[in-house]
């Protein structure tokens, strides 16, 4: 009996050790829904950083990070909240990479991250409204706010000599925020907006929407939507009816799948996606290509890697896996001063932190958080050439 008890106790302590070595981090993204063709590569990029950290063996005396994926659906606030709740309470993750779309992120921050004191870093939620959300300091994002994207895109459109556009936006936080910041900037520059109409995602038919947009008389159509959803439906119908030939697109529409499906027919269409001439770009391109992720083929891959890397470094700086302790260190590791850390150098960063030195994580996208947890960000001007998106210029 004694032996049995002893054996049980040993077994229990052994399994206890095994669990203590693994740290769970949630990867909360819309794996189904309107951006389902973007999220697999984003999640893979985040997991790349976690793997790098785990393989180095330098994190908190050799702890491993186990990413736990969960589907936040992109559009359904209730589903996203439930998914985040599950990660936080039953999987006991120490932090979250996510969520992916603006509306669901608002719900996750308000209902789960802030009340439970769990750090959430979104690689792709871009609504301007998230800047002023009451997050108690637990929400950051590595993607820049659309307040800036709208301004950049308006300038590009004007520079190309286009003086009148029609706008259609997806009827949610992301579409509305972008449409507002774009219209404001474009009208300031002297541009005319013939019509600014919303569309609903998930409809079978966009004939009526396109008919109204075509009737406005503008020659170019700005689409603030999603490439797997209404945005694509609108472009497809506009092409079918011959209403528009050139489209102006924002980040939700810039992706390989969209170019593969419709690229040949929308030659000369252009748009913006987050990205730029960064110090860490070459290093990121190399590791991404090594993992079969095309770093320039779609948005938010570098941002996802950065979000994951920051969580790992903050954990090291906090010397614990405590949720609040991680949150307290995030700005220390992300911002200057300190030794600069590029993608692929996470092992070096972890060692420096362990030695008590200060680091400044630069990463794939020049991360530098302001007081609201936003990054300044720059944008890549993309254009369809030969049926594919090509990067033209950095703004």
């Amino acid at each position: 009996m004694k032996k049995l008890l002893l054996a049980t106790a040993i077994m229990a302590s052994l399994t206890g050790v095994a669990i203590a070595d693994d740290v769970k981090v949630g990867v909360l993204m819309g794996f189904t829904g309107p951006i389902e063709s973007l999220t697999p590569n984003m999640a893979a990029s985040a997991e790349l950083a976690f793997k790098e950290v785990s393989d180095s063996g330098a994190l908190l005396d050799g702890k491993k990070i186990v990413p736990v994926r969960s589907d936040s659906s992109c559009v359904d606030a209730a589903a996203a909240t439930a998914a985040a709740e599950r990660l936080v309470t039953s999987e006991k993750v120490v932090a979250l990479v996510g969520a992916s779309c603006s509306g669901e992120t608002t719900a996750v921050v308000n209902n789960v991250a802030a009340p439970n004191g769990v750090l959430a870093i979104s690689p792709s939620a871009t609504s301007p409204a998230l800047t002023s959300i009451a997050d108690k300091g637990f929400f950051f994002r590595t993607a820049p706010s659309d307040a800036r994207q709208g301004e950049v895109l308006a300038q590009i459109v004007k520079d190309r000599g286009i003086n009148e556009v029609a706008i259609t936006y997806t009827n949610n936080d992301y579409g509305k925020g972008l449409s507002e910041s774009f219209s404001k900037a474009y009208e300031k520059l002297g541009g005319k907006i013939a019509i600014n109409a919303s569309h609903e995602d998930g409809k079978a038919d966009y004939a009526a929407e396109v008919a109204a947009l075509a009737a406005s008389g503008a020659k170019d159509l700005v689409v603030f939507g999603y490439l797997d959803q209404g945005g694509k439906g609108i472009v497809q119908n506009a092409l079918d009816t011959g209403a528009y030939k050139r489209f102006i697109l924002a980040d939700g529409m810039v992706g390989e799948k969209f170019a593969a499906d419709l690229g040949a027919k929308i030659e000369g269409s252009f748009g913006t996606m987050a990205g730029g001439e960064y110090e860490g770009a070459d290093a990121w391109n190399k590791i991404a290509e090594g993992a079969k992720i095309d770093p320039k083929g779609g948005p938010y891959r570098g941002e996802s890697y950065d979000a994951a890397a920051l969580i790992s470094l903050a954990m090291q700086a906090a010397k614990s896996t405590d949720r609040a302790a991680i949150q307290a260190k995030i700005k220390d590791v992300a911002n200057a001063p300190g030794e600069k850390i590029l993608p692929g150098e996470l092992a070096k960063g972890l060692k420096l932190i362990a030695e008590g030195k200060d680091v400044d994580y630069v990463g794939a996208t020049n991360v530098e958080f302001d007081d609201a947890g936003d990054v300044p960000g720059s944008y890549r001007e993309m254009e369809i050439k030969g049926g594919k998106f090509e990067s033209m210029k950095i703004h």
Binding site: I195, S198, A204, D205, A208, A211, A212, A215, G217, T241
Partner: protein
């Protein structure tokens, strides 16, 4: 003169052709509902899902054919798969009749009992459809996309505006005309058709004159399966397959049936077109058309749009309510629900 032609082309491209296509799809769907109503005397709520089921089977057969390398050239392969889709759907409907509706028929249950039973059938088919093909969008259109493309039209006419007719739109209109003609010929000219009409008019009298009721019921289900599958496949080819949009079709279909007069085949067709045209006409922005037609100084600044496109579905609701209030029997004096 060219201005008027341009205006006409714009109107045809954005209003007339889409509405005509949508109207044909609604008409075929509504015919199924009206047939069931007149013969079996209940409103079949499972009609939308029946259309989805027929489409799912057709899509699966289409993929099978494509993987064997069989296509139809410039026409969509789905046309080849259509007969199998109809057959399987007919078998499913006959099975539901055998195991659900027949019980209530022999018990001579009230019409509302049938309606509730059909609601249950709808939910089961709803799940079945998603089990077979999942809840996601499927695109199964192949072959030539355009019957008349924008560039071809511009080159031919020399106008600024273009009229585009997609293959799926042309097919919808042609198939709808053939099917409706065949249905009316069947109902008016054949012995079975006449028996069906007699049974619908007066059940007891029909039974006395030796009409076999089981046979009439079976044929009604088979015709409904054919109409629903063709309507569903055409809708899917035209707008892409998505399970939820078939469920959403239920409202315009019932609106069409009631506006036309329930139980009247001709009413279902007219009702389908009324609903389709009013949805598109009310939500279209007329700025471009008016700019061509009116003198330059009178051209409108605004969009001249009566209702924003978000309210499209509300249009069928409003028409439905007005008809029920003003003329509950519908245009062709059908039955009152």
């Amino acid at each position: 003169m060219t201005d008027y032609l341009n205006a006409l082309v714009v109107f045809a491209n954005f209003v007339f052709v889409p509405a005509l296509t949508y109207g044909c799809q609604l008409a075929l769907g509504s015919l199924g509902v009206t047939m069931i109503y007149s013969v079996l005397r209940f409103s079949n709520f499972a009609q939308g899902e029946t259309m989805a089921f027929g489409t799912v089977i057709t899509i699966m057969v289409t993929w099978g054919l494509q993987s064997m390398g069989i296509t139809l050239g410039f026409l969509p392969t789905a046309l080849l798969a259509l007969p199998i889709g109809i057959l399987v759907t007919a078998l499913l409907l006959l099975a539901t009749d055998r195991y659900v509706y027949r019980y209530y028929r022999t018990k001579r249950s009230k019409s509302i009992t049938f309606v509730m039973a059909s609601l249950g059938v709808m939910f089961i088919m709803n799940g079945l459809v998603r089990l077979l093909l999942g809840p996601n969008d499927q695109n199964f259109a192949d072959g030539e996309r355009f019957f008349l493309s924008a560039d071809a039209f511009r080159a031919w006419s020399g106008l600024d505006e273009a009229l585009v007719i997609r293959t799926s739109q042309a097919l919808t209109i042609i198939l709808a005309i053939i099917l409706v003609a065949a249905l009316f010929w069947f109902l008016q000219r054949t012995k079975t058709g006449k028996a069906m009409r007699a049974y619908a008019d007066n059940e007891n009298l029909a039974l006395l004159s030796g009409i076999n009721p089981d046979r009439i019921v079976r044929i009604t289900w088979i015709i409904t399966a054919a109409l629903a599958t063709v309507a569903g496949v055409l809708y899917g080819l035209d707008k892409g397959y998505k399970p939820l949009s078939y469920y959403n079709l239920l409202l315009p279909i019932f609106a069409a049936v009631i506006v036309g007069g329930i139980g009247k085949p001709i009413g279902a067709i007219v009702g389908g077109f009324i609903i389709a045209f009013s949805e598109v006409i009310v939500t279209y922005a007329y700025k471009k058309v008016l700019t061509y037609v009116l003198p330059t100084d009178m051209a409108p600044d605004g969009l001249v749009q009566l209702l924003s496109t978000e309210y499209k579905f509300a249009v069928s609701f409003v028409i439905l309510v007005i008809v029920l209030l003003v003329k509950p029997t519908g245009i062709f004096k059908g039955k009152v629900l």
